[in-house]
């Protein structure tokens, strides 16, 4: 039974929540607005909110001067590639742990989780050295592999919690009807697992897109994704707020949109199923 709420109370809630929500969102809004100003308007005092001449010139300049598309493409390859590779490795593992659990399944899951807790800086030099030896420094291949490995525990865990929810009786029924392991996976499990896999992919693309330790330390000019591209604005010349804003807006827009679709999965994925 829903509690009855007076309209007045609802209005106060609404007002308060919107005020707080807009306050938290404001830095993003301000960045987006500034990206449409000229550099002079961007530092105008007092600040201009909507009353300025909207321009797209910053977007053109960012692309022209620093070849934004190349960084974007690196981000797409690194985030997409590492997620795809992770899914390929994790789906069989999560499937077997969810449907053919053994005594050690729990230990293996916990151990996988523990590898995620390893602080990156503790293994920075070994990885750096291995990258030099393998010729992976500043290559997309190297980053795809490293990001796949750091996100693999999250991928396995998320898939495991989704697969766990598929009722086992359906599998037994399929087996009774004479389905082999291959048919079982292909025709029974896959259709039921697709939503879970899709959410896992979504969350992991976001995590890989925003990863900013390995991408900053293992890339230079060639394989740098957007995280590193933006970091290059930390020692700027002259007026740059509008250009920084344009570059930032372009860097965060794709995941901001993906992120809104994956709110629910965020909780499950990042708490390893501890909060649902």
């Amino acid at each position: 039974m829903a509690r009855a709420v007076t309209t007045q109370r609802r209005a106060i809630n609404t007002l308060l929540a919107w005020a707080v929500g807009l306050l938290i969102f404001f830095p993003i809004l301000w960045t987006i607005l500034t990206s449409f100003k000229t550099e002079a308007q961007a530092i105008a005092s007092p600040p201009l909110f909507f009353n300025f001449d909207w321009t797209l010139e910053n977007y053109a300049i960012v692309q022209e001067r620093s070849d934004y598309m190349r960084f974007l493409w690196n981000s797409v390859i690194i985030a997409g590639g590492s997620t795809l590779l992770g899914i390929i490795v994790a789906v069989p593992a999560a499937w077997s742990m969810a449907f053919v659990p053994s005594k050690r399944t729990k230990d293996i899951l916990m151990w996988m989780l523990s590898t995620k807790m390893l602080p990156a800086v503790g293994v920075l030099y070994p990885i750096y050295l291995l990258f030099i030896q393998l010729g992976w420094l500043d290559t997309r291949t190297g980053l795809v592999i490293v990001l796949m490995l750091i996100n693999l525990p999250i991928i396995v865990w998320m898939l495991y919690t989704y697969f766990k929810e598929i009722p086992g009786e359906i599998l037994e029924a399929a087996r009774m009807d004479g389905a082999g392991l291959r048919e079982e996976i292909l025709y029974v499990l896959t259709p039921m697992a697709v939503p879970g896999i899709a959410s896992t992919i979504l969350l992991n693309i976001i995590l890989a897109w925003n990863e900013a330790f390995w991408t900053l330390n293992l890339t230079a000019a060639n394989a740098a994704p957007l995280t590193a591209f933006i970091a290059s604005y930390s020692s700027p010349e002259g007026l740059f707020y509008a250009k920084l804003s344009a570059a930032s807006t372009m860097a965060i827009a794709p995941v901001l949109i993906l992120g809104w679709f994956s709110q629910k999965q965020l909780v499950r994925g990042l708490t390893f199923g501890a909060v649902k």
């Binding site: 609404t14 938290i24 969102f25």
Partner: protein, 288 residues
């Protein structure tokens, strides 16, 4: 029931993930452990032999160690307090009936999806810049002298930036937990005349305790390795050199790999202490 056949198939399917993660854990970890006992200076002679526990002693006794520990504790502690207190309040607010709840939720969650380098640079330049930042305009509007945030109030500034990034995470998880609260219990308490504050203290807060613990532990693990936010703002100056940043500087900037590796081992031990508590909670959930 699983047959022998499906058991071995299952093992085979698990193998790639297990082997990859095992390699990812063991190979670099062994190397770090090995380097931590060597005097290893890649740019000044390379591997100069066995060093025993010298690196471990030197890392701790160096003048930058305790300030780094202090900076780390202040940043992690500050962000945890801010995000959890505000997160609980915000989750309670978002749980109330209102118009446009979905949109407000999106607004609140958005910062979590902003990459760390973007949020750090936007805050640094467009808000905290002492000349052109919005805070400077605001301060001047009220007749106060603008603050040089990242040098005069460096730690609070970093805490502010990182809290902004993590508040959505705490809020979202606490909101999920609040929504799973049995509303009949609350209604019963309300009918019995329990005031709002008492209802919060005796029903809602105990219900949230598990979610709060999870937020606390997960955030601690991530916050201990905050890097990009410092890398693009202060570069570790003005007292913002955390343990993670100190190790990074030892290893990559001054190329003292032995010393940095000993620091790395300390960081790994520290993270593992936190992780053990987190794993216990997650493990309990797995049994249920």
């Amino acid at each position: 029931m699983a047959t022998q056949h499906s058991r071995s198939a299952a093992r085979l399917m698990m193998a790639p993930a297990v082997i990859l993660l095992l390699g990812w854990m063991l190979v670099p970890l062994t190397m770090t452990l090995w380097f931590s006992f060597r005097q290893y200076l890649p740019l000044r002679g390379g591997d100069l032999g066995w060093a025993g526990f010298d690196n471990y002693v030197r890392f701790i006794s160096s003048s930058s160690f305790w300030p780094a520990v202090q900076a780390t504790l202040i940043i992690v502690g500050g962000v945890l307090v801010i995000t959890i207190v505000l997160g609980v309040l915000l989750a309670l607010l978002l749980d109330q009936p209102m118009w446009g709840q979905g949109i407000v939720r999106i607004l609140v969650i958005a910062p979590f999806f902003v990459m760390p380098t973007v949020s750090a640079l936007v805050w640094k330049n467009m808000f905290m810049d002492p000349v052109n930042g919005l805070f400077a305009h605001l301060w001047k509007f009220f007749g106060a002298a603008p603050v040089e945030w990242l040098s005069q109030a460096s730690l609070p500034s970093i805490i502010m930036i990182v809290s902004w990034q993590w508040l959505p995470f705490a809020t979202l998880i606490l909101l999920t937990a609040i929504q799973s609260l049995d509303s009949e219990q609350l209604e019963a308490a309300e009918m019995d005349g329990a005031p709002t504050l008492k209802r919060f203290w005796f029903i809602i807060l105990p219900h949230l305790s598990r979610a709060i613990t999870v937020v606390l532990l997960i955030q601690t693990i991530f916050l201990l390795s905050v890097f990009a936010e410092i890398f693009v703002t202060t570069q570790g100056s003005f007292g913002t050199r955390t343990l993670t940043y100190l190790i990074f500087q030892r290893v990559l900037e001054s190329q003292n790999v032995g010393l940095g590796s000993a620091g790395g081992i300390y960081a790994i031990i520290l993270a593992n202490i936190v992780a053990i508590f987190l794993m216990r909670i997650v493990g309990k959930n797995l049994d249920a």
